[in-house]
């Protein structure tokens, strides 16, 4: 298989990455090599094998649930301290909705 430049741009778009032309030229063949390598898995017959999403250990039912009680959490100031742009107690983002 060979990943076309168009496909690389398509995937970058899905991933919200604004790749440069040079990056696309570099990543294309590298991703291709990895995808070709992982084709190896198709040699294995996995009929009837359950997929494993997570390692799970025996535990009591609902053991990961906690009591529904409120606890102190970050102050507004703490929550906003790392924001690239904040104001009026909120995260600031570029305008999302266009005004006609």
């Amino acid at each position: 298989m060979a990943l076309s430049e168009k496909e690389v741009f398509y995937v970058a778009d899905l991933a919200h990455l604004d790749l440069t032309e040079e990056e696309v030229k570099m990543f294309g063949p590298q991703l291709d090599a990895v995808l070709e390598y992982v084709q190896k898995l198709s040699q294995l017959d996995t009929t009837g094998v359950e997929p494993m999403a997570q390692v799970t250990h025996a535990a009591a039912e609902n053991s990961s649930l906690r009591d529904d009680v409120s606890k102190p959490t970050f102050t507004q100031e703490e929550a906003l301290q790392n924001a690239p742009e904040a104001g009026s107690g909120s995260f600031k983002v570029p305008q999302v909705i266009d005004r006609e």
Partner: protein, 484 residues
């Protein structure tokens, strides 16, 4: 005492108890050594000298007041920079988090501090823990203390190098596909990953959530066992942490491994550096001499592990790293037109090449039309790999393998060929996929100048960390770290 930076935890506690050294003197000795030696090794990204000295003085006050020592009282530790430390910069070695100040402590960090540890600083790593050499750091590479022209391994290369160079007594790393065990092997120290769920990941910046672990490095198995005991156990803040009691690991370090069944899988002894193979075989001989029973075993799906791992970890990474959008924290591109363009430019400028490669790969394998062929297939293969181990552990108590098929390589040697870099993880990703615990211990040196360390890896059953540490400790006591 003349040298305060090469002590074990027990030696530190001996010195504190006999008033031969104060915790402040020990912390200061490490800070001084970091100043003189770390410009060459570059294991730290940031240090917190004032905080460290304050923590050390608090320990000294407790000793003066006659309070008993806690498990890590006065022990200088380093923390990988993917683990949150309140009030200290936590960058994940990424430009996208260059100025991120963690608003809370990871549970593992909070437990270290409650046990009396003195945190010296944050260590370098591959960006977001993605890599096997620490060359993918967004800031600078770390150098292997045994040969500064070579990599320390990765992704926890800074944590491994800091302990190897006596710039910390123990350290925390994270392991997703070998990121503790492989740099431990490359730097000649002990590095351990517990069972999946043994250590809380609350406050560990997520890379691949079904595979991520926090674990310790040390220069002795006992130091690692003690640190592991401190950080292990159920945490209500991480629903994947197991509600299973934690053994007193140091009690299992009795040196008696007579009758322990050691599985040796043929699949891990093919196509590797012949000198590494020879050393690990000598290590196995030593275990046999100690009374272990050596049992040849099969782990037939080993050859599929790299393919399986790189599909699953990139898929999870592409999802986990979607949060870096320039809104709530981290870097935001300076120029853009509109919200969507802001996301795209922020992410392209903020992430380094390996992170982008993995996001792209993960996005591809999850995308419409490819999900079944890649992601679902990999999850099924993961079941087979895990089953190999469960079946093998019907017959044996531990499994012994080399940690890495190759010795520490030269800086820049593999940087242009990501697939070759991925293939070097072949012996470590298997345990990550299965979720069993693993440890890498030093196993002699390679011939040549300077002599480079070799690592031997041990796996055990789910939650059988005691057995893992017992065998590793018996190996250390019998001189296994310097087999020749």
């Amino acid at each position: 005492m003349d040298n305060l930076t090469n002590l074990t935890i027990e030696e530190i506690h001996g010195a504190l108890a006999k008033r031969e050294a104060s915790a402040e003197e020990i912390a200061r000795a490490h800070i001084d050594r970091i100043r003189t030696d770390d410009p060459r090794v570059r294991s730290y990204l940031s240090t917190c000298e004032e905080k460290a000295l304050e923590q050390a003085r608090a320990v000294d006050r407790q000793i003066a007041a006659g309070e008993p020592l806690r498990p890590l009282s006065g022990v200088p530790v380093a923390v990988k920079d993917v683990i949150l430390t309140r009030g200290l910069r936590t960058t994940c070695a990424s430009k996208i988090l260059e100025n991120y100040m963690a608003p809370y402590d990871a549970t593992a960090v909070q437990r270290l501090e409650s046990a009396g540890a003195v945190i010296l600083g944050k260590t370098n790593c591959d960006e977001f823990a993605m890599g096997s050499s620490t060359e993918n750091s967004g800031f600078y590479p770390t150098h292997n203390p045994h040969d500064l022209t070579r990599v320390p391994g990765g992704s926890s290369g800074g944590s491994a190098a800091a302990v190897a160079a006596n710039l910390a007594t123990v350290s925390l790393g994270s392991d997703t596909g070998g990121s503790i065990r492989q740099p431990a092997a490359f730097c000649g120290v002990v590095g351990m990953m517990g069972t999946y769920g043994r250590v809380s990941r609350y406050g560990l910046v997520a890379f691949a959530s079904s595979l991520d672990h926090i674990g310790p490095f040390g220069r002795s198995v006992r130091d690692v066992a003690r640190t592991m005991k401190v950080i292990a156990g159920r945490d209500a803040l991480d629903s994947t942490s197991a509600d299973i009691s934690v053994d007193d690991y140091e009690k299992s370090l009795d040196g008696n491994v007579r009758g322990v069944k050691v599985g040796v899988p043929n699949e891990y002894f093919e196509g590797l550096n012949p000198d590494i193979r020879a050393n690990v075989e000598k290590g196995i001989k030593l275990l046999e001499k100690l009374g272990c029973k050596i049992v040849p075993i099969r782990l037939p799906h080993t050859e599929y592990a790299i393919g399986c791992y790189y599909i699953i970890c990139t898929a999870e990474a592409s999802s986990n790293l979607a949060r870096y959008d320039g809104v709530r924290y981290g870097f935001r591109a300076a120029e853009f037109s509109g919200l969507r363009d802001m996301y795209r430019k922020t992410r392209d400028q903020g992430f380094g090449p390996e992170v982008k490669r993995r996001i792209m790969l993960g996005t591809y394998v999850l995308s419409s039309g490819y999900y079944d062929a890649y992601y679902l297939k990999a999850q099924k293969v993961r079941t087979l790999i895990a089953r190999d181990f469960v079946e093998a552990f019907d017959d044996v108590d531990v499994i012994v393998t080399p940690t890495s098929p190759i010795p520490p390589f030269k800086l820049n040697e593999k940087l242009d060929d990501p697939l070759q870099m991925y293939l070097a993880d072949i012996y470590t990703v298997t345990a990550s996929l299965a979720g069993i615990p693993g440890i890498s211990v030093p196993c002699g040196k390679l011939p040549g100048e300077p002599p480079l360390p070799v690592g031997m890896q041990i796996f055990a059953r789910y939650f059988d960390e005691s057995r893992l540490l017992q065998v590793a400790d018996a190996f250390e006591k019998a001189g296994g770290f310097s087999v020749s």
